[in-house]
Subunit: 488 residues, 2 copies
């Protein structure tokens, strides 16, 4: 075997697809297709039905056998998809399958639900099997009393790691990082490092993507991809294969900022350093992927006033979150209505104004929402910075003018033709141009200003923009009608 | 050196933060802070000013010296942030700094702009330095004629790889994958593999995260993390360290689906297989991170009718995209207005109806948007599947009823008190309840139905939902007013 040098042919990928040697055997499915829909990889309704039927029949063995072939991520999905009343019985039926890897993948609300039903020592057992960052995610959502009870049940070493992580602000790099890091001094050779890694030491990390090279003060001086290590001869010093230029993440950095760095510099893992520059942990890209998804979803949901918008969150919380946003909007709707109230006399004389006014305000709202969505995402992804704000404001104004003129002409001519009233057509056309300009201007100025004031533009921009387009829509249309003597 | 066994102390991370040995030296900045804002890692306006001043002065050397210390990703940002008129002069001034790594990071529109100004052989040179997936991204956006010209200038091997990638559908795994893969047969030992990797072979990939184990037909049978390889003794067969359960990506899979698998199973890289199950490439997580970001942004922008909403896209295209959406909305606004038109007589008799009616329609619109945003994201992230649709519809209806009743009572009592008209209060309160139910129902049924019909719910849901809440808002309020004899 040792001499059986690998054949060139077997070892390497061909550069093009070699159709001559193609075989016709079908690929084996990556996962069991009985449980999973082939197209979108979600659990089949028929599978869920069998699980709930077995749960209804209190046939725990059948439940266990159904769930057993699933990947932990799919078991997590099962808990999320199944009705809430089934979650506790399911957890009891599959007992040992409900491991740390399932909990780590579980939606926060569903996990809290489950964890609430476990004893502190059970939670502690699960947390000890997890990586620090996952254990922190599990424990940070518990209330203080439960947290203390769980921590008290843990091994002192694990407890210290989690307590230390909890001492960092929520959503910071310190909460996200794992403390299992391979960090070695610069003077080693590749061979030294491999020998060190081969030692039979259970405390050493088994899953890592990079080795960090540190100085005597434990400050990172370089980083080494494992593939470089594997390709280098044993005698080469680490200093010759490592990359000195690396992105260091301060332990207090916000997770959204961390995600942007990972994306910008295409990182797989990065060293986390404390105030004194010492290496204290690492963040890996698999955790960052969740954050990018979450932060982008957050922007959609906040722009729409849906809070965190998680379909698994308790319904009472959802009602409260959405209602508070609706009440704020009720306030702005009342302000807009009071503008209409100023023109009650004109409307009584010429009711057609009331028919057409929602078109002007509504179209302004649509145009404002367009600009707002673009600007909020550009701010969130660092594409809109103080360097190009002025250029972007001018860009939005030009777009607003072009769209406003097009829509103004369209609605103006249409109104003139339908109602045979060119005066009315001119008024609604002009109001449309004005309100599109208001929409474009508000759509960029509101989020940019909120961002400067360090308020999340996704949360509160929409209220201001909608108020601006509603108020100005009604005011410009009804005001022009009165001023030009249309409803005299 | 060979005997200088690494000290335990130097080699491992402490598990907790060891505050006793903390030093006070400040951490070195990861990047040069003269150019980058420390807080959000974007280029400083003052730096951009110096670059544009040097460009205005046609001082190419000064430009080069300013840009030279930047990371390629920051050079890409510089091109995006600087005014369009500066991009070509900047490209000329920094010549060799504008490498494949800068182009790979560049926004599509800005890249097209630059590439249009290069000769085919220059583009071919750049593409040859890039990984296949980045080269494909560069070439796929060119028009057919330019594509052919660039491909003709490339080495046959590279050309074949790119042509093969271009033969897969846009946004499929085949476009995204890299063909540089380490694939070895199962019978090797860890030592064999390391010896193979250490060979002085320029064609062998240098940056990879996993080794794929294939059978004689080149079908993947397992995968091996590099850290397991490094920790295993040389004599161990690969079959004993590899993981047999792996996620295989079919070459035609849509990139959004690829991203969901990476996220669900926390993958760093995954094997891509063709129809016959042969390994044809791999996808790595750094490419997927961009897709997750893009797909989530796409949902926000499409929901808001802003198309792709890229701030770097040509302004004419932006105007056309947004205008076509606004025209569609104009249609629905006219339909809603014609509902108001049915009640002109009532409005002429009682103009207060026109003042209050936008409140009912607007609040319905807000509530509908909340539900819509939650549902669109839940569909996109596979959280809402056919297994839990009914449960989620009931959930949204309960939320709509709770919010509708709260808002109905609030506005009903308020209207009664302000206008001293309990009849008007009852009508607006009831209309508010009805319209909230319409909003909740439309907010979930419209996107779920579109998804079943394989239409992207983010693109067209908002039109239907807004139309429903506008029409029903006006109809329920004005209709109830007339039917109950309020405006008689």
């Amino acid at each position: 075997m040792e001499q059986g040098a690998p054949h060139e042919h077997d070892l390497r990928m061909d550069d093009g697809v070699d159709t001559d040697t193609m075989t016709v055997a079908a690929p084996e499915p990556a996962r069991n297709s009985q449980e999973l829909d082939e197209e979108d990889n979600t659990l089949r309704p028929s599978f869920l039905r069998r699980v709930t039927e077995a749960l209804d029949a209190e046939n725990q063995e059948a439940v266990y056998n159904l769930v057993e072939p699933l990947h932990p991520a799919d078991i997590a999905d099962l808990f999320e998809l199944i009705g809430q009343e089934y979650r506790a019985p399911l957890a009891r039926a599959i007992n040992d399958l409900l491991g740390s890897d399932v909990l780590a993948e579980l939606n926060d609300w569903v996990r809290d639900d489950l964890v609430d039903q476990l004893e502190p020592e059970e939670v502690a057992d699960l947390a000890e099997q997890m990586e620090t960052d996952d254990a922190v995610a599990l424990i940070e959502d518990l209330d203080e009393e439960d947290q203390a009870a769980v921590l008290a049940e843990m091994e002192p070493e694990d407890r210290a790691a989690i307590e230390s992580a909890l001492s960092y602000p929520e959503e910071s790099a310190g909460r996200l990082m794992s403390r299992d890091v391979i960090a070695v001094p610069e003077h080693l050779t590749v061979g030294d490092l491999i020998d060190y890694l081969r030692r039979d030491d259970d405390d050493l990390a088994t899953e890592f993507w990079e080795v960090f090279i540190v100085d005597v003060k434990h400050r990172p001086v370089g980083t080494c991809m494992l593939s470089w290590l594997l390709r280098a001869p044993r005698s080469v010093p680490l200093a010759d294969v490592m990359k000195r230029d690396q992105t260091l993440i301060p332990v207090t950095m916000d997770q959204e900022e961390v995600a942007l760095r990972f994306q910008k510099y295409a990182l797989i893992s990065a060293a986390v350093v404390d105030d004194s520059g010492r290496l204290v942990g690492q963040i890996t890209v698999d955790d960052v992927v969740h954050i990018i998804q979450e932060e982008a979803s957050e922007d959609i949901l906040r722009l729409s006033g849906a809070g965190d918008g998680d379909i698994n969150e308790p319904i009472g919380l959802t009602v409260r979150t959405r209602l508070s946003w609706l009440v704020v909007n009720l306030g702005t709707a009342i302000i807009a209505a009071s503008v209409v109230g100023l023109f009650q006399g004109a409307i009584a004389r010429f009711a057609l104004l009331a028919v057409l006014m929602p078109i002007v305000s509504g179209m302004g709202g649509n145009a404002g929402t367009q600009t707002l969505a673009v600007v909020v995402r550009a701010i969130a992804t660092n594409q809109l910075t103080s360097s190009n704000t002025v250029r972007m404001i001018l860009r939005e104004l030009r777009i607003a003018l072009a769209n406003g003129l097009s829509l103004g002409v369209l609605i103006g001519v249409g109104t003139t033709l339908i109602f045979g009233n060119p005066h009315l057509g001119a008024v609604i056309g002009a109001a449309m141009v004005i309100n599109n300009l208001v929409a474009g201007l508000a759509g960029i100025l509101v989020p940019v200003s909120l961002d400067r004031l360090r308020v999340d533009p996704a949360v509160s921009s929409a209220v201001f923009v909608t108020m601006a387009t509603d108020v100005m829509g009604f005011f410009s249309f009804l005001g022009l009608a009165v001023v030009t003597g249309l409803a005299a």
